[in-house]
Symmetry: C2
Subunit: 209 residues, 2 copies
DNA sequence: GGATTAATCACCCTATTAGGGTGACTATTT
DNA sequence: AAATAGTCACCCTAATAGGGTGATTAATCC
């Protein structure tokens, strides 16, 4: 017989904590082995809990959930961290994922979906709430109405890769002066006068990756 | 009464095309108004079909699905494009999303999931197959075992933003020489000797965003 | 068919920059 | 005691970035 999936919750709202714990533990194959009201409390003993999946809230007293992710990963490298939160700010989502979260669920997620997500994450999936998935996909999309031509976009991308004019010239088999000319036009169109400003503006407006 | 969701399929395999069309059309509220075996064929009349959602294959004769996305978006800016393919290469996924796809499903997706995804995409979601979601999330995650210190990572990120040493020094309230010293150490650790190489290597190994 | 845009190249200029070398001091962590 | 992180100092020179002000060709647009 397979052993139960061990789950630990870190969530400061007692009602939510108890509610989800109860619901999850009722499902065959899933046990909430322990729950904590903060990361600072969890850090002491979570190692002994040896969880497979950690359900983590973001808005926590003391160390917040995002900062907690890398620390948890250090203690339990193989545990999957599932964010379970009401927050939907883009910045927080991407920070959480960058820090090593394996999924991101918002709190309106019904219990059965959470169970499904725990299963999914253990099987190598990356569960996300629909609204989160939309933001994640949007973050990949480039602006369709760029003021820059293809060549200009290409050159600006190389600049963002830290390449010098002469390097770019070599790689594109064009003259150094042509590269300069393109860069001047890029600066004109973006109304900037330095590499740093051009890159910042282009990234803000998703003109380049 | 609400009108049906209008769906167009572009898919070269006739069996799959007919199969999905039939299945989807049986569901209340969903009509496959037309299907094409290639983009080059679709481009002539798809404007008249006024689809809400386009189910798009990647491996197509002639113009491939990825290249087709921006062209479709131009003809039908408000249509949602859902990729439906067997391909799972990272490069293709990210290119498809960057080009404007609203979701990415692999072909082992059961019919009811496809229906669900069509609904989801119309409601502003970003449906993805579990394996795709995993790759997308993984793409955000940074390397936990970077050889670089926090300060070095921070400075390398600024270099990747196109900033000069003196700009970085100002922003971090440290001396220009200190910035130089950090950069030298970064180059030493990464075994490179230029900004471009450092950025490339750091991005390849996900040391920076 | 005249105008705009894209892409290419040319030559003027100067302050700043990047990268290499070598070394030192302090604080923290191991 | 040794290694790492973070700070600063001064040597050096070739290359770089950014500002002007042009031109030519081809394609695309109305």
């Amino acid at each position: 017989m397979e052993r139960n999936i061990r789950i630990v919750m870190i969530e400061d709202d007692e009602i939510i904590r108890e509610g989800y714990s109860l619901l999850i533990s009722q499902v065959d194959g899933y046990s909430v082995v322990r729950s904590y009201s903060s990361f600072d409390e969890a850090v002491k003993t979570i190692g002994e809990d040896s969880p497979d999946v950690i359900l983590l809230d973001i808005e926590l007293p003391g160390t917040n959930g995002i900062a907690a992710i890398p620390k948890l990963k250090k203690i339990l490298p193989s545990a999957h961290i599932l964010i379970l939160t009401v927050y939907e700010s883009e910045k927080q989502i991407f920070e959480a994922l960058a820090n090593g979260a394996s999924g991101y669920l918002t709190k309106n997620t019904p219990a059965f979906k959470i169970i499904e997500s725990i299963k999914e994450v253990r099987e190598g999936g990356g569960p996300m709430s629909v609204n989160i998935a939309r933001m994640v996909i949007k973050s990949f999309q480039r602006n369709q109405e760029s003021p820059l031509s293809k060549r200009e976009t290409q050159i600006l991308e190389q600049i963002a890769d830290g390449k010098s004019r002469s390097q770019i010239a070599k790689e594109l088999f064009i003259d150094l002066e042509t590269v300069r000319s393109h860069i001047k036009n890029i600066y004109l169109k973006l109304d900037v006068n330095s590499r740093a400003d051009a890159i910042r503006l282009a990234k803000e407006n998703k003109l380049i990756k």
